[in-house]
Symmetry: C2
Subunit: 305 residues, 2 copies
């Protein structure tokens, strides 16, 4: 199954001629999860041929415009294109109020269900789950309420080793073995141990999206050992004071956090318009955390199962 | 003095990969008037190197997103870039409420004055004037309250013919002559006739922006003999019924209106995404009104003095 992240925008708030405001698409299996939705996101989705119909959930980290001003347009376009499937929208207080007002004044009765999920950005909490995936908030420290999002695949079933399976097991017994449960008799004696007849399950992959924030090491337990950690890196570390003052981070701080969390890969984004060339940000991060990459428009990052 | 219209977007509501949502910049002298502000307008302004600082007034025709979803982003960027000059925003009811809410939830106290002017879209009324220009609403007929905008230069001063001027006229007397006033003695006898000592003033130019609307011939007296008439042309005339049903117009209807109004030039825009090639729309209009043009992204139209 796919576990693929596509970057649609890498710019911080002041726009740049060559970069777009923050938006990312995490594709897990057949489903797109849109993370933040800066102005122009619907044009970027068109550019990369990402189908709206497969976007089931949209997550907005905070109410600065560079993270959500593309949302009303995308929601409207989905309406004009006759979407039928429900759309789940996770965001901070204010988002539902603004969108509801925009729909009212445009005289729009959406042809599909738009379901708001208001977030408490201060806590680490599960906000969504389905068969494969759980999504959690990650509290960030920004000028206004802001959270990141942790996407974690659930534990996967263990593969049955057919050559080792005793005959005549029933389908419910096979399911129990797949989910690491032994088959026992009425007295509790183990008849078939799942360890004997199943292999190791495929890895459960994870992605942590750490939105706009000061360096915040208390999130490390939440993002420990994630496969990919996106962290904003608005500035180089020579502007650390400015980063702190504006509630942002430096590339070095992002790398320190990735290192302390033992993340497998670090993605840097949300770059200040002052950096025409992003190489120094990448180099700064790699001094501390070698497996760092620039999360720039169009780049795609996979996690293998 | 310049009188120049730059087109930033030509697409109707459903976005197209190659076209942008509606926005235009009318430059009169040193001042930019931004007319509608679809999503991505600030990127288009950057592309065409149009300076925010020179935008004094923004006019929003109606509250469909393809005409204003770029506004919040532009207003925020002006804030981030330290704008100081007041910005005048003319738009229908709802616009101030939405933007105020967006600013509230983003925790933004704008560093420049944003002055809302709520429009009555149902009447033809002067909404702005300065030394050179008057701007009027043009009531349109759309699904929601909608108006266009008529930009009219004021009558200009008559040039003094120096070789014909008698000596010893005072500066106030010269000003009166420029503004077509004779110089008289105390008994009312004409001492200097302005007709003898001044030439004809330069032309007062005009531009009418007719936003989303059904064919609405009752606006003809308002737009009569304008130098440039922009009219939406969402459809070809074989879809006239669909145009009427969706409160839009066809290229032929736009041309008929331009012809009846004796406009000097017609600009067509707001094209449905179904038309990859816009030539048929232009050809249809030119059958009725030969001096028609496509108002596509990047095109610039001048009016000579």
């Amino acid at each position: 199954m796919d576990f693929e992240l596509r970057i649609l925008g890498s710019s911080s708030a002041t726009p740049s001629a060559n970069r777009h405001h923050t938006a990312q698409v995490l594709t897990i299996g057949n489903q797109h999860h849109l993370i933040d939705c800066g102005e122009g996101t619907q044009m970027q989705l068109m550019l990369y041929k990402i189908k709206h119909q497969r976007i089931s959930n949209i997550y907005i980290s905070h109410m600065h415009g560079d993270h959500y001003f593309g949302l009303a347009g995308l929601i409207s376009t989905m309406h004009l294109q006759g979407r039928q499937a429900p759309l789940h929208l996770f965001g901070p207080p204010g988002l539902a109020e603004i969108l509801t007002l925009q729909l009212k004044y445009s005289g729009t009765n959406l042809v599909y269900p738009l379901i708001f999920h208001e977030l408490d950005t201060n806590c680490h909490k599960r906000i969504f789950e389905d068969k494969q995936l759980s999504v959690y908030t990650i509290p960030m420290e920004h000028r206004i309420p802001c959270c990141g999002f942790l996407f974690k695949e659930k534990v996967k079933p263990r593969p049955l080793l057919k050559e080792k399976l005793p005959p005549h097991l029933s389908p419910p017994q096979l399911v129990r073995l797949k989910w690491a449960e032994d088959i026992k008799d009425e007295k509790g004696n183990v008849l078939v141990s799942y360890k004997d007849v199943t292999g190791e399950p495929k890895r459960s992959r994870s992605y942590a999206y750490c939105a706009d924030s000061r360096y915040k090491p208390d999130i490390i337990p939440i993002v420990r050992q994630v496969d990919m950690l996106y962290h904003e890196a608005t500035f180089l570390d020579d502007l650390r004071d400015r980063a702190t003052y504006t509630f942002h981070s430096t590339a070095l701080q992002a790398a320190e956090l990735a290192s302390q969390a033992a993340a497998k890969k670090l993605l840097l984004g949300h770059f200040s318009v002052r950096y025409k060339d992003l190489t120094p940000l990448l180099e700064e991060a790699r001094q501390v955390f070698p497996n760092a990459e620039l999360a720039v428009e169009g780049s795609v990052f996979y996690v293998e199962e």
